[in-house]
């Protein structure tokens, strides 16, 4: 029988699962580097968090009789990205809690994929950061000799108990904490290549940049938000640096902490970002500005997570003022002249 369809009768090649699949591909090198640096603890933490996300998604699908939504791969992305923002020795059970919260409170609550107002991975992290502030600020240095044979002790903490024998967290202080609390600067080369301590996936800015560039070039991800964040960061921290060079340099700002990971993989989560070009520029600027304010004047060494979440919350307001200028909007004057 003849089929009746509505135009257009052609379809672009990109599909949602395909985009998501490629995001996972782009994350893999970062995961591999992280495992290289932090050893089996990293591998197991990533597995546990991702599994927790996927199982939570499946559980809620089951509870609400929804059709299977695992095949869009977003739960896996959430899991991987969430894991990449956690410190290497983070107790596994807390990782599982983070995954559960990310999917349940960050996603299912709002109706699932596409409707979440906040970046689920970051919401999961924000929750565990508030719930277990000590564990999430205990950093383990990378490159330890026995990392492939032994777990970081705190990883294996028994569920619902506190990690007991934390490694002296000082040896693993992040570049940002060192900068903020000790006024010690980490060499730029370490920051760029990733030989510093920090969350699983945030250490190597260069690698993150390359993986993000792959997504942008293949058209799986927009370029405005990352660019806006990077440019705004350079500008704002540049101004501070020029005023008083005890403030960290723009390069340090850019390459330390989670800024790169946030700019390329988390602020770009399409669902929780604005859709309009102008909105994206504002969004990026807001993230950069808030990150720098928290880093320089706040109580915490790092601010990118809160900055992105705050920007997520502001998206409706941003979009209210940043709708695109429709075609033919100003031309009315011209026609007047023509009369």
């Amino acid at each position: 029988m003849i089929e009746l369809r509505t135009s257009p009768h052609m379809k672009g090649a990109l599909s949602l699962p395909q985009i998501m699949r490629h995001v996972i591909y782009a994350l893999l090198p970062i995961c591999v580097f992280s495992i290289y640096q932090f050893g089996i603890s990293a591998l197991v933490l990533m597995t546990v968090v991702t599994l927790s996300c996927v199982l939570t998604e499946a559980l809620f699908n089951y509870l609400s009789n929804k059709k299977n939504s695992l095949n869009d791969y977003t739960a896996i992305i959430t899991g991987i990205l969430l894991a990449l923002t956690l410190p290497p020795g983070f107790p596994l059970w807390m990782g599982a809690v983070a995954g559960f919260v990310a999917i349940s409170m960050g996603k299912t609550l709002f109706g699932g994929m596409g409707f979440n107002l906040f970046n689920p991975a970051l919401l999961g992290r924000a929750f565990v950061q508030a719930a277990f502030p000590v564990a999430i600020t205990s950093w383990t240095p990378g490159g330890m000799a026995d990392r492939f044979t032994q777990f970081i002790p705190s990883s294996l903490t028994i569920p619902f108990t506190a990690p007991t024998n934390t490694v002296d967290s000082f040896s693993g202080a992040t570049p940002l904490a060192l900068q903020k609390f000790e006024a010690t600067t980490t060499p730029n080369s370490d920051l760029i290549l990733g030989f510093s301590s920090g969350s699983l996936g945030e250490t190597s800015s260069l690698l993150i940049l390359l993986c993000g560039a792959y997504l942008i070039i293949r058209g799986f991800m927009g370029w405005r938000i990352p660019l806006s964040i990077i440019v705004s960061t350079i500008l704002i921290s540049g101004i501070f640096y020029l005023m008083d060079n005890t403030y960290p340099s723009p390069l340090f700002m850019l390459t330390s902490g989670g800024l790169m990971l946030g700019a390329l993989f988390m602020a770009t989560d399409p669902v929780s970002a604005p859709v309009t070009p102008m909105g994206m520029w504002l969004f990026g600027f807001l993230i950069a500005a808030m990150t720098i304010v928290i880093r320089l004047f706040g109580g915490l060494p790092e601010g990118i997570m809160y900055a992105i979440l705050f920007a997520n919350a502001s998206v409706p307001l941003i979009e209210a003022i940043a709708q695109p200028r429709k075609f033919g909007q100003v031309a009315t004057k011209k026609s007047g002249e023509n009369k």
Binding site: M1, I2, E3, L4, R5, T6, S7, P8, H9, M10, K11, G12, L14, S15, L16, Q18, I19, D72, G111, G112, M113, G114, F115, G222, P270, V271, S272, A273, P274, V275, T276, P277, M280, E319, Q323, P324, R325, K326, F327, G328, Q329, V330, A331, T332, K334, S335, N338, K339
Partner: protein, 449 residues
């Protein structure tokens, strides 16, 4: 957005790049299709009031004879596409859906087709009003797709003056090659029609805009153009929907037609290649529009090509002629981006139809893929040539919040080009949503009144 665009021909911002798929018919010169045993001539083939039939069942008609006359200014007459006898005037299905009145003509066998004789007119001697009347008498409507009566377009409100006639040779939709062939084969008529219309409009110049995937047509016109001082051809980048008049004007002249307004407001009239070529042929000889070139292509036909089809030919006949492979089940009148599917093979070819695409099972792209929620990826926002926000429009439409769509998000500026649906990775049928919304919104004032 692409940096490479800097080195290419000019284009507008946003829009999309489509595979052009024109290779099957590009090289096929126009062939004449013979007459179907029965022609179905709907009285409404154009934008505006339907024509009024002036023949009655049983009456014999001669090819080219007026069989329905214009019902007011916003209407055009209809001419008999073939000699024969009027069988009936009854409701008949059309591509749009609702049945409309159509004159059914039983044609005489091909050999005895005889044309009504016409006296040539001297265009130059006509006054402006007479010229408009003459254009209306040809029954000419926009052949580019909208079917807007050409003479109405030519009667520009007196407060505006036209300086430029833009000839739309973009043919930006994939698969279609009618305009391309016409430019190659009827270059002289095209240029003649252009200068005629320039005179009619009092335009100082005319620009023929051609997408740069048709450089042979560009060169052909270039080589004929010497006699016509004020006509220029310009190549524009192949970029969908370059052929939309607002965007073409923007690219060629840098003028932006105001939202909700018409090209004449910025001193421009846009006509399609086919319209002008036909007019160039018909007007001097005082004839009516009775046939048009249609691209028939797609995976479902054996002999794709460009056919000169008498208006009113049922699709079934056309398909039989070009040989259509059995399981073709997807027929589109027009291009793949904006054309509409037909529900029945009895639907006739009418004036605005520029193509018939026939596909067999699922060979058209997988449109029925699973629909995901909008992920706000902004691809549609970057694609929309009208700079709307299809993402939010789509979300509002899915919640049936039509008023804000119109009031806050300019729904009415959407010309349904389909770019947004094309790029949406979530497969959201955005354009369909917008059509529903527009149809609801259009009904509303009527209800309140």
């Amino acid at each position: 957005m692409n940096i490479l665009n800097l080195f290419k021909n000019k284009t507008f911002s946003h829009g999309i790049h489509l595979p052009d798929k024109k290779e099957h018919t590009r090289e096929q010169s126009i062939r004449r299709l013979h007459f179907a045993p029965e022609l179905i001539v709907p009285l409404s083939q154009h934008f505006g009031a339907p024509a009024k039939a002036v023949v009655s069942p049983g009456q014999e008609v001669v090819r080219g004879q007026v069989i329905a006359e214009a019902d007011g200014f916003m209407s055009v007459p209809i001419h008999a596409p073939a000699s024969g006898v009027v069988k009936e005037i009854e409701l008949y299905p059309t591509a749009k859906g609702p049945k409309t009145e159509a004159i059914i003509i039983k044609t005489w066998p091909g050999a005895s087709q005889r044309a009504a004789s016409f006296e040539p007119v001297n265009i130059a001697s006509l006054s402006h009003e007479q010229l408009i009347q003459a254009v209306q008498d040809t029954g000419m409507v926009g052949l580019g797709g909208a079917g807007f009566p050409t003479h109405v377009k030519l009667s520009v409100p007196p407060e505006y003056s036209i300086d430029t006639l833009v000839v739309n040779g973009c043919e930006c939709e994939p698969y279609l090659t009618t305009d391309h062939r016409l430019m190659l084969e009827k270059t002289a008529e095209l240029l003649q029609g252009t200068s005629m219309l320039m005179n009619a409009l009092g335009a100082k110049q005319a620009i023929i805009g051609i997408e740069d995937n048709k450089m042979d047509a560009f060169n052909a016109i270039k080589s004929h153009i010497s006699g016509f001082e004020h006509i220029q051809v310009k190549a524009v980048q192949t970029h969908y929907p370059q052929g939309s008049e607002k965007l073409l004007i923007k690219v060629l002249l840098g003028r932006e037609v105001p939202s909700g307004g018409f090209p004449y407001q910025v001193g421009v009239v846009v006509q399609n290649i086919a319209t002008i070529t036909q007019l160039g042929e018909l007007l001097p000889s005082n004839q009516g529009l009775i046939e048009r070139v249609v691209t028939v292509t797609g995976t479902g036909v054996n002999k794709p090509g460009n056919y000169l089809v008498p208006l009113g030919t049922p699709i079934r006949f056309l398909l039989d002629h070009v040989g259509f492979s059995g399981n073709a089940n997807h027929l589109i009148l027009g291009g793949p981006m904006m054309g509409s599917t037909v529900a029945s093979l009895d639907v006739p070819i009418t004036k605005p139809v520029s193509g018939l695409l026939v596909f067999n099972e699922q060979s058209v792209e997988k449109v029925t893929d699973e629909i995901y929620p909008c992920i706000k990826c902004a691809r549609c926002v970057d694609a929309c040539p009208m700079h709307l926000n299809p993402s939010i429009l789509g979300q509002l439409a899915s919640k049936r919040q039509y008023e804000p769509m119109m009031e806050t998000f300019n729904l009415m500026d959407c010309f349904e080009c389909g770019c947004c649906s094309y790029v949406c990775p979530s497969n959201i049928p955005l354009v369909q949503y917008f059509r529903i919304a527009k149809s609801v919104l259009r009904e509303q004032p009527r209800e309140e009144a």
